[in-house]
């Protein structure tokens, strides 16, 4: 079960990040062509792959299981809570939704006055920055459960899907339900983080239903987040004159 849930979590999380990275690459491609923009994206992806292999190896060498579990659990909690809170705020209408068309227009404006090498660097940095979260999630989720392959496969599968959809559309992938995905990913990552941190503190019997507690936790955060969003939306509506 853990392997499949790790694959799903990294697939969804990476998918959202790759969609945002694709918008930047698309803007650069419209400026300096697909060949150069694609080369920059590939260079960034190669760097991310090398970083994943290096950090994954270091983590498994240096830390024993309890410390690894605690450190990765806290890292995932920081990620998951942030993602979930942003998704709740967007669902409640307190925060603007991410708009790929707006991002594309912004990137095109920023690129208008730049030279070819600077535009190449924009694509490289864009993919690298969006990929950093994917890198950390793949390492964090994969290293602890010794499921690096499942985590990396999830991120790669998402890359293939987004790249294929982008190649067909040749436009920002605006139909991807980003906030719904971020909601689910935030709930899943927070579930993994809380499961591993409490297990590191209280031992293997810390959770009443063993590994199935992960499913219960993810459902709890998802449904709880939806209830919180509904309540925040209701309060905001009441506060309006």
């Amino acid at each position: 079960m853990t392997g499949a849930s790790i694959f799903l979590a990294t697939f969804l999380a990476a998918g959202v990040e790759w969609v945002e990275a694709f918008t930047i690459v698309l803007a650069v491609a419209l400026s300096i062509g697909w060949r150069a923009a694609g080369g920059a994206a590939l260079a960034a992806l190669a760097l991310l792959a090398a970083m994943t292999a290096a950090l994954g190896g270091l983590l498994s060498l240096w830390l024993d299981t309890a410390w690894l579990e605690a450190a990765i659990g806290v890292l995932l909690l920081l990620f998951g809570v942030r993602w979930l809170a942003k998704a709740v705020a967007r669902h409640a209408g307190l925060k603007a939704h991410h708009d790929e068309d707006v991002e594309l227009a912004r990137a095109e404006r920023a690129l208008a006055a730049r030279e070819r090498s600077a535009a190449w660097l924009v694509a490289f940095q864009g993919v690298l920055i969006e990929g950093l979260e994917v890198w950390l999630l793949v390492v964090a989720l994969g290293a602890h459960a010794e499921r690096t392959l499942a985590a990396a496969a999830g991120a790669l599968a998402a890359l293939v899907v987004v790249a294929a959809a982008g190649a067909v559309a040749q436009a920002p992938l605006r139909r991807v339900p980003e906030n719904a995905i971020k909601f689910a990913v935030g709930a899943m990552i927070t579930a993994f983080g809380s499961f591993w941190t409490l297990e590191a503190m209280g031992g293997a019997g810390a959770w009443p239903w063993g590994e199935w507690s992960l499913v219960v936790l993810a459902a709890f955060y998802l449904l709880g987040g939806l209830l919180v969003a509904a309540e925040l939306r209701r309060r905001a509506a009441m506060a309006r004159p």
Partner: protein, 55 residues
């Protein structure tokens, strides 16, 4: 490096939420109330999410 740190640690409010939830869970586990921690820890995190979402 600053960007990487911010990516890892998040903002101060997220750090506070996670630190308080962990302190609660740690205290419950230390007093031998691990089963209570399994219920209160996720509740504390969700309450933190609600506080963060309010902005």
């Amino acid at each position: 490096m600053t960007a990487l740190f911010r990516l890892l640690a998040g903002d101060g409010r997220t750090l506070l939420v996670v630190a308080l939830a962990l302190a609660l869970a740690g205290a419950l586990v230390a007093c031998g109330r691990g089963s209570a921690a399994a219920f209160l820890f996720p509740l504390a995190l969700l309450a933190g999410v609600a506080w963060l979402a309010r902005g």
